[in-house]
């Protein structure tokens, strides 16, 4: 292939904000579409899905393909891009009747409580009716088309990224408005007569034809930028003529074909029309997208994978080069595992505990060890685990775990030994529940998780006599963390081991969607825990988690590292004096949990930084070892990172403010002030140059 053509065709730019929005929209529609199909099966729903995905694909082509890469060089490429955004993508998207599937794709409570009042707000409905009324929609579309093709404004868009974005956004959204009255994707009948659509489309074609004829026949270059930046032997004037023809021919067809189809429809008999419009509906059984029991069966495989990775980390930590960027023990646990496990928590649930390799080895150890003792009563709380977590977080900074591969290897090996010893002698999952600092970290984080292992129907549990979910049965052990499913609320202490799912003879336990942080607001009685408002140990754990997030990130930035000794002292004073004082004598313990979403967000934003800048470090290490390459992983900060980090903190602050408001009511302001202060501290930390980990910089 000609190298120029090859270079042109390889000029794709996926992965930007537009790609993310398109992917998110596609997933949302697909989710709503699947949910809808469980209830009814309409004759055209397959076509609608195809239309929606096709429309999104056209937007993707317009914004991320070589068309976008060449729009500064060729008016013809730019015109093709505009055509896709205005005339092809919007009607396809609207043909998919997207409103209901998109709403169905969102969490039900959010739609009902969050969007519901707006969707039924008469003012908003009135504004929407005006926007989608044929005269307004037509005028908006025509004005947008003419306005942005005036040389002054077109040049403005060519010279500024911001205005270029505004231009494309207005083309797309006025396109949606224009096609709305033609397709009528919403519920209910339009108050406008059906024949109105025909002159509506024909007049739009007249505007389009006039504009494209001007491009073709004007005889002068309308946009001087294309004179200074153009490609190849095609003159800017010829390029403009081609652009005009693209706008004229395919553009006109887009208006004339639907006008013709509508005219034919109006001419056919009413009976046939009614038959064509009648949806073919039949009730379907709910299809299972994936079975939780299948996932439970795959747990050992996940654990073996994690075990192999742990072995690799330990071996490399002990015997590999003791240089962090060159050792898997300096990279995999601190960059990849931490970031991926918290991101998994925010998207799915506690996947790390589900695939925990320590529990896998512990189970093997139990084949030899007795595991008959009961965990000491005095230690049946979170104080020990909180202390271990605090020690781990302090040790991480003081001893630089991340920068000493051999120490990381010792920690991992020690972890296996501790899990085997504790659970080899004590019953249940004492190690997970009362000792494991990673587990506690995951438990607290999972308060903000969107999924939970819970019962499907409470009525089934009320009639249950065997309680297999906690007692177990001959084939399957029950919950080792003593969580009785009917009384379980939230994700605290749940390792997602799915033993209860396998044990339940009624198939009544599953991983179900929940509102993140809901159980913090309600403070229900929790099986094996009680109410959080009465548990100082859990409050202490949450405090360590939240303030640990900020302290851990702050420990990697220059201004804090300068005053490290003093800050360590301050942290120590806080840990020893202030925290117990707050927990025992001061404010209600529940309020502490309101800060957890902000803590989760800070951990996620911080760990995302290390992951985004060092995700390729293992491949570099492996290529050095096996291919003899001589370059260490180099840090590159992607452009999207800071924005994504701020958005994570925004989300954390908003959930914290909401939970604090629900919990505190009249005392909201002091708690909101504390949350905003933490958010501000988090933003300040994120804007400081942060120490790179596991790479050369």
């Amino acid at each position: 292939m000609d190298p120029v053509v090859n270079a042109a065709l390889s000029s794709w730019n996926p992965g930007g904000a537009a790609s993310f929005v398109l992917l998110f929209s596609a997933l949302l529609y697909l989710r709503g579409w699947l949910r809808g199909r469980r209830l009814v099966h309409a004759a055209r729903d397959g076509q609608r899905l195809a239309a929606f995905l096709g429309g999104l694909m056209l937007v993707f082509l317009a914004t991320e393909s070589p068309l976008d890469a060449f729009d500064n060089f060729s008016l013809a490429a730019h015109m093709a891009q505009h055509l896709l955004l205005m005339m092809f993508a919007p009607p396809l998207i609207l043909l998919a009747r997207p409103t209901v599937p998109l709403l169905r794709g969102l969490p039900r409570t959010f739609v009902k409580e969050g969007l519901g009042p707006f969707l039924t707000w008469p003012l908003l409905r009135g504004v929407f009716r005006i926007l989608t009324a044929p005269p307004f929609a037509w005028a908006a579309f025509a004005i947008s088309t003419i306005f942005w093709h005036l040389p002054a404004f077109y040049e403005l868009a060519l010279g500024s990224r911001f205005w270029h974005g505004v231009q494309h956004a207005s083309f797309f959204w006025t396109g949606v408005l224009f096609w709305w009255p033609v397709i009528q994707p919403g519920a209910g009948k339009s108050s406008w007569a059906a024949w109105i659509k025909i002159p509506y489309l024909l007049f739009a074609d007249i505007v389009n034809t006039a504009l494209s004829a001007f491009f073709v026949f004007s005889g002068r270059l309308l946009y001087p930028s294309y004179a200074s930046a153009h490609l190849g032997s095609l003159s800017p004037q010829d390029d403009q003529t081609i652009a005009g023809l693209i706008m004229w021919v395919p553009g006109s067809l887009v208006y004339l074909l639907p006008a013709f189809v509508l005219a034919m429809r109006l001419l056919v008999s009413g009976r046939a029309q009614v038959r064509a419009m009648e949806p073919v509906v039949r009730v379907r059984n709910a299809p299972q997208i994936f079975r939780v029991r299948t996932l439970a069966r795959w747990r050992p495989a996940l654990q073996v994978c994690m075990l192999l990775l742990a072995v690799v980390v330990i071996v490399d930590g002990f015997f590999g080069p003791q240089v962090t960027p060159l050792n898997l023990a300096g990279v995999l646990p601190w960059i990849h595992w931490r970031a991926l496990s918290i991101l998994a928590l925010l998207v799915v649930g506690n996947l790390f505990c589900m695939s925990c390799p320590f529990v896998f080895v512990r189970d093997l150890g139990r084949k030899v060890l007795p595991a008959r003792l009961r965990w000491p009563r005095r230690l049946r709380n979170k104080w020990l685990a909180t202390g271990v977590l605090a020690a781990y977080l302090i040790g991480y900074e003081v001893f630089g775990f991340w920068d000493r591969p051999w120490l990381t290897a010792w920690i991992a090996a020690g972890y296996f030994a501790a899990a085997v010893v504790v659970d080899g002698f004590f019953r249940g999952a004492s190690f997970c529940k009362y000792v494991c600092p990673i587990g506690q970290f995951q438990f607290v984080s999972s308060l903000g998780s969107p999924r939970e292992v819970k019962v499907k129907r409470a009525s089934v549990c009320r009639s249950c006599q065997t309680y297999d979910c906690i007692r177990g049965n001959e084939q399957q052990r029950g919950c080792e963390l003593y969580l009785f499913q009917p009384k379980k609320a939230g994700n605290l202490d749940c390792t997602f081991c799915l033993d209860c799912v396998k044990a339940c003879p009624h198939d009544n336990v599953a991983i179900l969607p929940v509102l993140p942080a809901k159980t913090i607001v309600e403070d229900p009685y929790r099986s094996s825990i009680g109410r959080l408002s009465k548990r100082s140990d859990f409050a202490a754990l949450a405090l360590v988690f939240v303030f640990g997030a900020f302290a851990n990130a702050a420990g990697m930035i220059g201004p804090v590292m300068v005053f490290e000794q003093w800050l360590r002292m301050l942290l120590l004073v806080l840990a020893v004096v202030a925290v117990p004082a707050i927990l025992f004598f001061s404010l209600p313990k529940r309020f502490v949990f309101a800060l957890v979403p902000l803590g989760v967000a800070m951990w996620a934003a911080h760990l995302l930084y290390h992951f985004a800048t060092g995700w390729n470090a293992p491949w570099t290490i492996l290529s050095q070892r096996f291919l003899g390459a001589h370059q260490a992983a180099t840090a590159m900060i992607p452009d999207w990172l800071t924005g994504a980090q701020i958005l994570l903190l925004d989300a954390g602050l908003l959930v914290t403010l909401y939970v604090g408001w629900r919990v505190a009511r009249k005392l909201t302001i002091p708690w909101a002030a504390l949350a905003v202060a933490l958010y501000t501290a988090g933003i300040w930390i994120l804007f400081q140059p942060m120490q790179m980990r596991g790479m050369v910089h």
């Binding site: 914004t63 976008d68 890469a69 207005s170």
Partner: protein
């Protein structure tokens, strides 16, 4: 302000950038025609993207195998197709340490063109990322509106 917020909302939905940036200059040097693009627009202190289009002056065909280097303040940076979205361009990321008008040169295959880059002072993070910070107050306002609408609906039901 409301206009900017609406624009921000629109942009988060369909956000597209021109590739290469805006044209700094287009000059001819020997057998080549060279166009230098800069991004972001305007250039500010920090990291900037400079892209170069090299064409044969005779027929305007893009030259893809020129060894292109961008010289800024006397320091040369190699520009390659690797990082460019538009693979016909040679792109380099350069550090712009100070504001002001800075001399820039593009060298390739023995030919060179010269011009100037105008660099503005850096924006504060708050200004640079304002749409991201606007999320929180907008969400709080929407939440308050949501509550008021619910209260009004409940009141209408009672009446």
């Amino acid at each position: 302000m409301i206009f900017r917020l609406v624009l921000g909302a629109l942009l988060t939905s369909v956000l597209v950038w021109a590739d290469g940036g805006t044209i700094v200059f287009r000059q001819r040097s020997g057998p080549y025609s060279v166009t230098l693009f800069a991004s972001p627009d305007p250039l500010r202190v920090g990291i900037g993207d400079l892209s170069v289009l090299v064409e044969r002056a005779s027929d305007g065909a893009p030259v893809l195998d020129a060894g292109v280097a961008i010289e800024l303040d006397g320091e040369a940076v190699k520009a390659t197709h690797g990082n460019a979205t538009n693979k016909l361009l040679y792109q380099a990321r350069v550090e712009l340490p100070e504001a002001g008008v800075r001399p820039v040169a593009v060298r390739m295959n023995g030919a060179a063109v010269r011009g100037e880059l105008s660099v503005l002072p850096a924006q504060t993070p708050i200004v640079r990322y304002w749409p991201y910070f606007a999320v929180v107050p907008i969400a709080v306002i929407l939440f308050e509106m949501n509550r008021r609408l619910k209260r009004r609906r409940a009141g209408q039901r009672l009446n």
